[in-house]
């Protein structure tokens, strides 16, 4: 019994609170295969919690998440099995500092997906090659720039062939020059048809990759639709105010 037949990810009436603070208040949306859904909204609007909930890193208080036709919010679900289908990239990269780039990328393919070391290395090196990081394979994360670290983190998520990629404000810790190299990488993935859920502060980028843009405010999706519509012709006063603030900060 699927909520929506064509969607890879379906979310219905999701609710989550921390103590007395209501962080997600009835969130519903669908993510069709090969599409990108982008969430914008100020800090504390619930974007990160939403992505963590999708990855089963938070237990929700109510509502349903369906991935690939399976209800992953069910109690009996094995979260490790669910996460095999998901890739997540974090704001602070979260690379393992005690492993070099290649080891970071091949850890899960070898330990979780049962690839041999040779297969995993080959695949990792091919990905590194594609994103221009081949020569960094034996470097340790701390030796790389922020942009390079984040691209490695994206490759680490990609190397597992996820069905859905979750990107949590992946450029927030980077300077504008480095932001670009990371966003280029994501745009390439988009062109290849990777299904993604993205939380971001980069409005220009949101416009470029989003098939569906959602404005999150106080734990609710206040406005959603085509990126151009939401950003250029917002209906709700809250959205307008948010965009005006972003604009005055020079980020549009």
């Amino acid at each position: 019994m699927s909520l929506s037949t064509s969607a890879l990810l379906s979310v219905r009436d999701l609710r989550k609170s921390f103590g007395s603070e209501l962080v997600l208040d009835g969130i519903s949306f669908d993510v069709p295969v090969h599409s990108a859904t982008v969430f914008i909204g100020s800090s504390g609007s619930g974007k990160s919690t939403l992505l963590r909930a999708l990855n089963l890193l938070e237990q929700v208080d109510d509502g349903v998440i369906e991935l690939d036709g399976e209800e992953i919010t069910a109690v009996a679900v094995d979260s490790d099995q669910v996460r095999r289908k998901l890739g997540m990239v974090f704001q602070a990269f979260n690379l393992f500092p005690h492993m070099n780039v290649l080891e970071n990328i091949t850890l899960s393919p070898i330990k979780v997906h049962g690839l041999t070391r040779d297969e995993a290395n080959e695949r990792a090196l091919a990905l590194l090659d594609r994103f221009g990081l081949r020569e960094k394979a034996d470097q340790y994360p701390d030796r790389l720039s922020g942009g390079q670290q984040q691209r490695v983190a994206i490759i680490r998520a990609l190397a597992r062939n996820p069905k859905l990629l979750l990107l949590d404000e992946i450029t927030s810790a980077l300077d504008p020059v480095l932001v670009n190299e990371v966003l280029l990488t994501v745009r390439e993935l988009k062109e290849e048809g990777m299904t993604m859920v993205i939380a971001t502060h980069e409005m220009g980028f949101a416009k470029q990759v989003a098939d569906q843009l959602c404005y999150l405010h106080g734990g609710k999706i206040l406005e959603s639709g085509l990126a151009a519509d939401v950003i250029d012709r917002p209906i709700r006063p809250e959205t307008r105010e948010f965009l005006a603030r972003v604009h005055s900060a020079g980020r549009l």
Binding site: S17, L57, G63, T73
Partner: protein, 290 residues
């Protein structure tokens, strides 16, 4: 559980969520049930094997004669106060000296080079010699030197030997803790204008000590037990007091009483530290389910 949340009119969980909660509760109950069954099976088997072994009755009389144990308990407790005093004195000295040594070893100041060198040798030597030898060497060696003004009191000499050995252990534990604090933390602190020492005091050490609290506690518990080793110099501690009683009666219950006294201190200490650590971890991390 579901306190009304400000700003939203009384929220009721959906039927789906209600069912999930029932299922989660059922799962918790099932886990508790499995834990209980498995505990009864394992512990019950142990008890049955123990009680049915051929020598159980005579063993019970020689090791667990509680009436006799209670009778000698005051003497053992008197000895145990020596262990506790020694632990307090040695423990605080070790903490101070070990920290000093760790700071010297991790410093990069050129002026401290000879001290760094000496500190390294000190740790290498005293971590490598069995403590009982250090106790014997100092306990019998120093009085033999007959230096005027230096004490011959075995309790003091024994305490010094314990301090010397444990300082070497603790210094290494603290040093490893200091080294695990990421360099970016120093960079951030120095950039805020904090001096080298202030950085250590307010940023590096608090993180380092928190990380090495479990191994430090390990050393503290070991110290409490090892204080008994100075009984070889003739000091009457809990173990020695129990030994004296045992020699009189040929009953080993005093040993068991001494063991219980040690446990009465070390177990609460461990639980207490665990709780403090867990609390501070919960305050700092917000990492959801994993």
């Amino acid at each position: 559980m579901t306190a009304p949340i400000s700003g939203s009119e009384e929220w009721q969980p959906s039927d789906l969520e209600r069912n999930r909660r029932i299922e989660r509760r059922r799962k918790t109950r099932k886990n508790g049930f499995i834990a209980a069954i498995s505990s009864v099976l394992v512990l019950g088997t142990f008890a049955i094997v123990l009680v049915n072994s051929p020598g159980w009755l005579s063993l019970r009389d020689t090791f667990f004669k509680w009436a006799y144990g209670v009778e000698v308990l005051p003497k053992i407790i008197l000895g145990f106060t020596t262990n506790l005093t020694l632990t307090l004195v040695a423990g605080s000295s070790v903490a101070l000296l070990g920290l000093l040594l760790a700071l010297v070893r991790t410093s990069r100041s050129p002026a401290l080079t000879p001290f760094r060198f000496l500190a390294t040798i000190y740790v290498d030597v005293f971590r490598g010699i069995p403590m009982i030898l250090v106790i014997l060497l100092i306990g019998f060696g120093i009085p033999a030197l007959q230096i005027p003004g230096v004490t011959n009191e075995v309790l003091i000499l024994g305490t010094i030997a314990v301090i010397i050995t444990y300082t070497a252990y603790v210094a290494e534990v603290l040093r490893s803790g200091i080294l695990t604090v990421h360099p970016s933390q120093r960079a951030a602190a120095r950039s805020l204008g904090l001096s080298h020492f202030q950085t250590l005091r307010h940023v590096v050490l608090p993180q380092a000590i928190k990380r090495v609290t479990p191994p430090l506690l390990n050393d503290l518990v070991a110290l409490i037990k090892d204080t008994g080793l100075i009984s070889i110099l003739g000091v009457t501690d809990a173990v020695r007091a129990a030994q004296i009683q045992t020699a009189k009666s040929f009953n080993y219950t005093p040993y068991v009483m001494a063991a219980l006294l040690f446990l009465a201190v070390t177990i609460p200490l461990t639980r207490y530290t665990d709780r403090i650590l867990r609390r501070s971890m919960e305050r700092q991390n917000s990492q959801g389910l994993t």
